[in-house]
């Protein structure tokens, strides 16, 4: 079956197909910190919805979280090797559930970043990835404002025209700004995955993401799934992440539905 699919497959990932490429990009952390990102530069705009569900109710405790975000993102391939990108949670609705719960609706976080291909061989692409998450969810913060940074490498290995393997290893860090706790946190966000594309218009991505040393010595281990397609120049992707292992409370599921329009 795989051989058959590979036989039907088409273009390499750094070409100009509108279908999404790269690792599963659903984000566990605010501002997509530590989430998977493709190595190949491209120019596109995206519009999507992001959701997170957490339930830690039990044994005298009622706790949960529901987050829904409307996200606008975009990237510009400044050159064949350099891309700048941004992500804005234009709408963020967050409900913290307890016996007396609370909610927030308003602007969310903003992420800006740059990635540069440092290895660009025929079958191998490695990008140096950098992100900064800015505290623009102004109504969400009562007093203390978070700032987060990420730097890492995102690699892509083309096994064939239809199958790519991905790996990403980032160092993520964050801190609080204000009179409250700075609580500098540093951790590692590794992920591995593969994507199989069919006829340049349908793809399936599988992956596993993890986190180490950030909130806990072992933060989480999360299988990921992405289903991707393209209609004309519009790419559509549905991503999900299931944090199966790790200390609680941790989300039950994180997902996103995203549409992109590619310019180049």
């Amino acid at each position: 079956m795989i051989v058959l699919l590979m036989a039907l497959a088409s273009a390499a990932p750094c070409d100009s197909d509108p279908i999404a490429t790269g690792p599963v990009s659903v984000a566990l952390r605010d501002g997509a910190l530590g989430s998977g990102r493709r190595a190949c530069p491209r120019s596109e705009v995206g519009l999507g919805g992001h959701a997170l569900l957490l339930d830690d109710t039990g044994n005298l405790n009622i706790y949960g979280q529901i987050q829904v975000q409307g996200v606008v993102d975009g990237s510009v391939a400044v050159s064949d090797r350099l891309e700048v990108f941004g992500r804005l949670e234009a709408f963020r609705s967050q409900q913290a559930i307890s016996l007396a719960g609370a909610s927030y609706t308003g602007l969310g976080h903003t992420t800006v970043g740059v990635s540069a291909l440092v290895v660009d061989e025929v079958d191998t692409h490695v990008a140096w990835l950098n992100r900064m998450v800015l505290p623009t969810a102004f109504g969400l913060y009562q007093n203390q404002h978070p700032l987060a940074l990420e730097s890492g490498l995102s690699a892509q290995l083309d096994v064939g025209e239809a199958l790519q393997l991905y790996g990403q290893l980032s160092v993520i860090g964050s801190m609080g700004i204000g009179r409250g706790p700075t609580q500098m946190r540093l951790g590692i966000a590794p992920s591995l995955g593969a994507e199989l594309t069919v006829k340049r218009s349908f793809g399936v991505g599988l992956g596993v993401a993890s986190g180490l040393l950030y909130d806990h010595p072992f933060d989480h281990l999360s299988p990921q799934l992405s289903v991707r397609t393209a209609i004309g120049k519009v790419g559509i992707q549905l991503d999900a992440m299931l944090p199966l292992l790790g200390p609680t409370p941790r989300p039950l599921v994180v997902g996103q539905l995203r549409a992109t329009y590619r310019f180049d």
């Binding site: 005298l60 007396a100 927030y104 009562q142 203390q144 978070p146």
Partner: protein, 973 residues
């Protein structure tokens, strides 16, 4: 906008720039900054100190003071405040660090129950302080507590209390930091616990005042209002009133009920690393007026927010004389520009004054006896306003005298409307709160007069609205009623009512009457002063009273001495362990609960000790409570542990009854140990405890004057007896004040060799109680005995015996003429075996003749009652037929009455059910059965004149029969 600019400001302050107090959340050496820093009060000779109490000497203690050595005292020239120590916390605070007392130096006016900090409603969101440090900063004296929320070490909380010279209260700052990894829903609140029958919350929001939105634990968000301050007052006696306001914002959030005021920050999302702070001032002023506490608040607001105020004053007159008569005779609520701002009770000369916002149109509304009687509009002004004399309508007065056996004594009189016109004209409540009374003579839960009740001792004058009244006086169930019918009261006139009562020879020889569940002002849900409480003891004509204050103890010594009551009453100090702090009663459960209420007696009152001789009684299963009690000196081998009101309603999310907590299922047998079901906790032995949860000695079979839960209580008691768990059944009033229950109604008669007085031996008395030599009653007196052929007589007792051939159950039932007895029931092994209705009916319920006391006398062969196999127990009941009730949740405990009076108990009787549930066993049940309201002048109406909403009932403890000679081991079910 503030938060947008907060970002650059925060950047500047990043990494420790500026005073970050304890906002890092993990610095044990930090100091919380002082709150309300821009305030400044000056006075001559002002002082301020903080110290750890080593004794209570010098403090103006009140009955509600909880302070003990080890607690922290903050005091200045104006007020004193006590914060409880870490090692003896109170009520809702697991770790101390809460305000438990606050008063002025004007008198023993501490009416504060507790102020504690909370971030939410769950146990994990309660503050758990672990560190305390006194702060001596010259003019600023304070104490700070550091800790975490109970659920996580990452959720840090710090609270600092400050006092400075000349200030009418205490400054408080709390910092709450989320050092965890996930967002939280937090509200940062001070919860002022009033207890439900004391101070009344007041909020100056639109349409507010003494009115607030309804809410419950699941709809708490609906209850929040925004206001510049909140206050409380309108209580009885000489206590203080309180107010609080935020210093760091012009308005804050609050929610209110009769039990609690919570003020601070409504729930918000708190992201990791984020924090909340709350700076506030808590003020106290003496007296029942809300304005006593809001007056200082206006000065604070002038300083902090440039809000000018003026003082409005006036004098209420009625019939040309000052309007006097207490908090209910005249209460003036003041609105400014349509918004309620304060309330004031005129002084004895009718004068009043209160601070209000300047330049605001004022409306003064005067309420008298719960009814709005007149309003006055006053133009706004920038200077103080003298409203001059203000006339309110005249009322009349009732001069009541009553005698018992021709002698002046303390008696309890009930004033009732004599006709429907008066009923509708005088029915009222207190700003929509507490009981509705007709007439409303005084605050329902204060001292006499309260609601429609008056303690009469010699000529007793009470102001009252004009109308026609019936007056009934009682000296308990074993005396006649004192009756004065159709007394007309006119405006400005004084009418008299003279009542004579006689004591009947009803109490069996060799018995003492007891009420083993009685509260007073030392309980957080009672507002009555000791003097009137002891007068109520006397009026009940009862022998033994066990004082069982919630979570504390009290002995009424001064009032008993003052009234010379010790020769007539045997007061036994006990305590009611009252679960208020939710915890995992049932292992691995989602829903936190409490273990209900448990009485213990005797204990040794200690006026200096924490809990006054009781013990920390939270977060403990019954077996653990028994151990704690024993460790605190309660004599486990001779004392009594009593299961109170085993099933009842929820109150503030807490189960009143242990059976409800563990979902006791009477269709199941008792389990020896916990088997994973809540039911099995009934007789489990908690970890670390040497006693079982079932190692109590008595259970309440009757509780409360209305007797509403009798069917449920007796079902649980009978189940215990069936199971071989022999526990005595008691009947107690659970009276807190003059209003909600009548002290001594019901009561327990104990067959004992003890007498009231110096020789009274509590151990010997309790021996009878533990052995079940008792009956319970609110009127009928059952003398039941098993008589053998050799004329030997056995009275009810938990000591098993083997009956002999030919033994006879002899029953005599007597009652005062006003007590209706229509049937006698014989119960065997939880089944009514015989009902006898050939009962004498007195011709005149108001009679004082002893002629018709004996209602029935009969003999029943014991052999005709016994089961074919197994052991047996026999109990006798008397009174009226029980109101119809049903068990709709299928646990064997009657839970619902025939509320729609259609002759059946089904889903249509359940409050709130709109359609029949699909399940055979309902989740929702109730209300419990009650008797239909009787027509005026019927026999039951006479009974209810002094036993409100009640119906006559009495029961004996069982005769326990060992039929097989192997000891009583329960019955075959």
């Amino acid at each position: 906008m503030r938060r947008v600019w907060g970002l650059p400001a925060g950047l500047l302050l990043w990494s420790g720039c500026g005073d970050t107090g304890c906002l890092s959340g993990n610095d044990p050496t930090c100091t919380v900054p002082a709150a309300c820093d821009s305030l400044a009060f000056t006075c001559d000779d002002g002082t301020a100190t903080v110290r750890v109490l080593d004794s209570l000497d010098g403090l103006p203690l009140s009955v509600q003071t909880l302070a003990s050595p080890g607690d922290i005292l903050l005091s200045n020239d104006q007020v004193w405040v006590v914060i409880d120590a870490l090692d003896h916390p109170h009520l809702f605070s697991e770790s101390g660090g809460s305000i438990i007392d606050m008063g002025t130096w004007d008198g023993a006016d501490d009416t504060m129950q507790q102020v504690f900090q909370a971030a939410g409603l769950l146990p994990a969101e309660a503050a758990l302080y672990t560190d305390v440090r006194l702060i001596d900063d010259g003019d600023v004296q304070g104490v700070q507590f550091l800790g975490t929320l109970a659920g996580s070490d990452d959720l840090a909380i710090a609270t600092r209390y400050d006092i400075r010279a000349c200030e009418p209260g205490v400054r408080v700052r709390t910092e709450l930091v989320n050092r965890g990894t996930v967002p939280r829903a937090w509200m940062l609140l001070d919860a002022f616990w009033w207890g439900g029958r004391g101070l009344l919350s007041y909020s100056p929001h639109e349409d507010g005042g003494f009115s607030w939105p309804d809410w419950d634990l699941l709809t708490i968000g609906d209850g929040f209002v925004s206001a510049p301050y909140v206050a409380s007052g309108l209580h009885d006696g000489t206590g203080a009133s309180y107010a609080t306001m935020a210093c760091d914002r012009e308005e804050f959030d609050s929610l209110h009920s009769e039990s609690v005021t919570a003020a601070g920050q409504a729930p918000v999302v708190i992201q990791p690393r984020d924090y909340l702070t709350y700076d506030r001032f808590v003020a106290a002023g003496t007296g029942p007026s809300v304005s006593a506490a809001t007056d200082p608040i206006y000065e604070l607001r002038r300083q902090l927010f440039d809000e000018p105020f003026v003082t409005v004053s006036g004098a209420l007159r009625t019939g040309g004389a000052p309007a006097t008569g207490g908090a209910l005779r005249a209460s003036v609520e003041i609105r400014a520009d349509g918004r309620p701002v304060t309330q004031v009770v005129p002084a004895a000369d009718g004068t009043f004054s209160a601070r209000v916002p300047a330049e605001s149109a004022l409306e003064l509304t005067v309420s008298s006896f719960g009814q709005q009687v007149v309003s006055f509009d006053i133009s706004g002004s920038s200077s103080d306003i003298d409203a001059g004399p203000l006339d309110i309508p005249q009322v009349g007065a009732l001069d009541i005298t009553a005698t018992l056996d021709g002698e002046q004594d303390v008696l309890l009189a009930f004033v009732l409307p004599a006709d429907d016109a008066t009923e509708s004209a005088v029915r009222a409540d207190v700003y929509g709160h507490w009981e509705t009374c007709a007439p409303l003579l005084g605050l329902p839960h204060g001292s006499s007069p309260a609601c429609n009740r008056v303690l009469v001792e010699g000529p007793t004058m009470v102001p009252i609205l004009p109308g026609r009244y019936d007056i009934f006086a009682t000296a308990g169930p074993f005396s006649s009623l004192g009756v004065a019918r159709d007394v007309e009261v006119t405006a400005g006139g004084i009418s008299t009512a003279e009542l004579q009562l006689v004591r009947f020879d009803l109490q069996p020889e060799g018995t003492l009457s007891g009420d083993f569940h009685v509260h007073g002002g030392a309980s957080w849900d009672a507002g009555i002063e000791d003097f009137d409480r002891v007068r109520a003891f006397l009026a009940a004509d009862i022998d033994v009273i066990v004082s069982t204050e919630h979570n504390s103890a009290w002995n009424y010594a001064d009032a008993i001495d003052q009234l010379g009551a010790d020769s007539r009453i045997q007061l036994v100090t006990g305590t009611e362990n009252t679960g208020v702090m939710l915890f995992d009663v049932v292992p691995e459960t989602l829903v936190p609960k409490v273990t209900g209420h448990w009485n213990f007696w005797p204990i040794v009152f200690d006026g200096q000790a924490p809990y006054r001789g009781s013990w920390w009684d939270q977060k403990a299963l019954p077996g653990e409570l028994f151990n704690r009690a024993s460790a605190a000196g309660w004599p486990a081998s001779t004392g009594i542990a009593q299961l109170n009101h085993p099933t009842n309603a929820l109150s503030v999310g807490r189960d009143f009854g242990w059976a409800d907590t563990i979902e006791l299922d009477l269709n199941r047998d008792v389990a020896d140990s916990y088997d994973g079901t809540p039911h099995s906790l009934f007789s489990d032995t908690p970890d670390g405890s040497s006693m079982r949860n079932s190692d109590f000695h008595t259970t309440e079979v009757m509780n409360g004057t209305s007797n509403g839960y009798f069917a449920g209580y007796r079902a649980i008691w009978w189940w215990m007896l069936d199971q071989g768990l022999l526990r005595g059944g008691t009947a107690n009033s659970d009276s807190h004040t003059l209003t909600e229950n009548v002290l001594g109604t019901p009561r327990t008669l104990v067959w004992t060799d003890q007498q009231v007085g110096a020789s009274f031996d509590i151990d010997r008395f309790n021996e009878s109680v533990r052995d079940g030599r008792m009956m319970g009653t609110n009127g009928p007196v059952i003398e039941a005995s098993i008589v053998s052929g050799d004329d030997s007589v056995r009275l009810p007792s938990l000591t098993a015996f083997t009956p002999e051939e030919g033994d006879v159950l002899h029953i005599e039932v007597r009652a005062a003429p006003w007590v209706v007895v229509s049937e006698v029931r014989v119960i065997v092994n939880g089944q009514v075996m015989d009902t006898f209705t050939d009962v004498t009916v007195p011709s005149d319920p108001a009679s004082s003749s002893p002629a018709d006391l004996l209602r029935i006398e009969l003999d029943v062969p014991v052999g005709s009652l016994l089961p074919v196999v197994g052991d047996a127990w026999i109990s006798v009941e008397a009174g009226v037929a029980l109101p119809l009730s049903g068990d709709l949740d299928c646990d064997g405990i009657p839970d619902t009455g025939d509320t729609n009076a259609d002759g059946t108990v089904d889903w249509r009787d359940v409050e709130g059910l709109e359609e029949e549930p699909e399940e055979a066993c309902f989740d929702d049940t109730g209300p419990v059965a009650s008797v239909a309201e009787p027509d005026r002048d019927t026999p039951l109406w006479f009974f209810q004149t002094t036993v409100p909403d009640g119906y006559p009932a009495a029961f004996t403890n069982p005769f326990v029969l060992d039929l097989d000679g192997g000891g009583f081991e329960g019955v075959v079910r």
